[in-house]
Symmetry: C2
Subunit: 334 residues, 2 copies
Amino acid sequence: MPTIPAPEADGEFGLIRRHFTRPGHTLPPQAVLGVGDDCALLQPTPGHQLAISCDMLVEGRHFLPDADPATLGHKTLAVNLSDLAAMGARPLGFTLALALPAVDDTWLAGFARGLFALADRHACPLIGGDTTRGPLTLCVTVFGELAPGSALRRDAARAGHDVWLSGRTGEARLALALRAGDDWALAAGLDPAQAGACHRRMDAPEPRLVLGQALAGVAHAGIDVSDGLAGDLGHILTASGVGAELQIDALPVAPALERLTATRRLECLVHGGDDYELLFCAPPEQRARIEAIATQAGTPVTRIGRITAEPGLRWLDAQGAVQTLPGRGFDHFA
Amino acid sequence: MPTIPAPEADGEFGLIRRHFTRPGHTLPPQAVLGVGDDCALLQPTPGHQLAISCDMLVEGRHFLPDADPATLGHKTLAVNLSDLAAMGARPLGFTLALALPAVDDTWLAGFARGLFALADRHACPLIGGDTTRGPLTLCVTVFGELAPGSALRRDAARAGHDVWLSGRTGEARLALALRAGDDWALAAGLDPAQAGACHRRMDAPEPRLVLGQALAGVAHAGIDVSDGLAGDLGHILTASGVGAELQIDALPVAPALERLTATRRLECLVHGGDDYELLFCAPPEQRARIEAIATQAGTPVTRIGRITAEPGLRWLDAQGAVQTLPGRGFDHFA
């Protein structure tokens, strides 16, 4: 859509093509045609459905101007792959649209390195995209496939289902607070190893693709925890027209979070965000199978509660009494 | 990826959901699951390939800040559908990622109206997307399907093929010059009907989807003319490793362009851009079939030259003599 004449020579964007086309790199078989035509062509497995997700990241809002480009490349794709994982889909490929204020070769090389390292690990090729000049903005659309009826949909939770969580939440939230210099985070006095673990969780989340695909057709509802455990479970409860009871003491706690006050720890666990773990619901008769799937995938899972017919989310303490947790954003009133 | 706490309440973006979700609107059957889960789900026709294209539009670069929102909504989708048309694909759906500096209800309502009017005409539902705060940026990724082997690929032109053009080029370029107040455009003294036709070509291009789908498996190479006839044909020639001879006098000329000087007319025809016509190559034995397809589609097509084994693009006058045309951007030296 070249309506307004470009201020720069088109040739500059040859630099971008150099960073995002990979001569000699073999595309996986599902990618019939990659970057360089009007459209990319994908060949899904016959009879399968296509799962599609899309995220736009803007500098200053989703990442800081001084973000390491390789880390940003990883995370840009990881948050999209996490959506495929939450659906139980196998990655097929992705497109990348990129607005750049200027062509910075070093930045682009780093970004592409982080992006392709993750893409290659999941056989998820870059198949197309667009580059333009503008405020730094990244838009990834990712494509996966799954067998019809096997998707982990938000509207599939039923009363009596167990609620499961992969991995553990809260470390990314603590990393954010450490970077912001928040007193409550600094007061925890984390050793370098603990702090490093938190920063890695924030910078380099690992999409739970192996677990998600194995759960497709076994678990029912699923979502990835990107905005906080409570909020994301809320999406499932609303879509499914159900409620849930969660056991506060069942939430897995990372060593770094042990050093926080109880209130801050709960804030991180429940409202943290940026976790990219899977939250899913399954009938109790699937417990043994889910444990086996998790062992096979190398990703721990924890049963943290159950779905109820009664709407709303209730938190139970060790005695089974309902506790009121502070809502999201209670920081402002601390 | 909510890494940096949002300056505004999330609730504001309820406005956006209001504009882009359509309660009561029935999705076409290929859309198994639309907006509102981790992923959208599409069910392509069994055995078909998926065609995917992606464009990012930035305010001030691809459109002016005062662009009519409904027109912008139409064009944002139209330029992507044009890529599907150029491949010969049938639309299945699209995602929209949107960065907005502020939530402007009137603007969003207009944008959504223009977007959905075109989407509905082509049974191409919005199936997912993302909204965030940021400099006004629009990113559409569109999905279509086609039978394996039928795609109009850029690398499929062969010596001896005819070169065909749908519709006619140059009117959008003239509209741009009229808006910029360029002397040469104003000097043409267009009547309001002629000028209006040019502006409509620029603002509301019609993707040649019916024609493109009918040509799949009949024509070989294809591309949509978005950056100018010569430049876009160049992409086919490079990808196919061939050359072409085009007949200058064969290019169809809109009435408005008749009023330009010969040089300016040629500039508009050959380097105009924003035309969204189809340029395609086919064996001569397909001529009658292509004429019939064009009649059926209601889109005129013109044979404008032929593919040669000798590389390069040569322009021939009525006597068959090679003419040197000014290159793109010769404006700067006018």
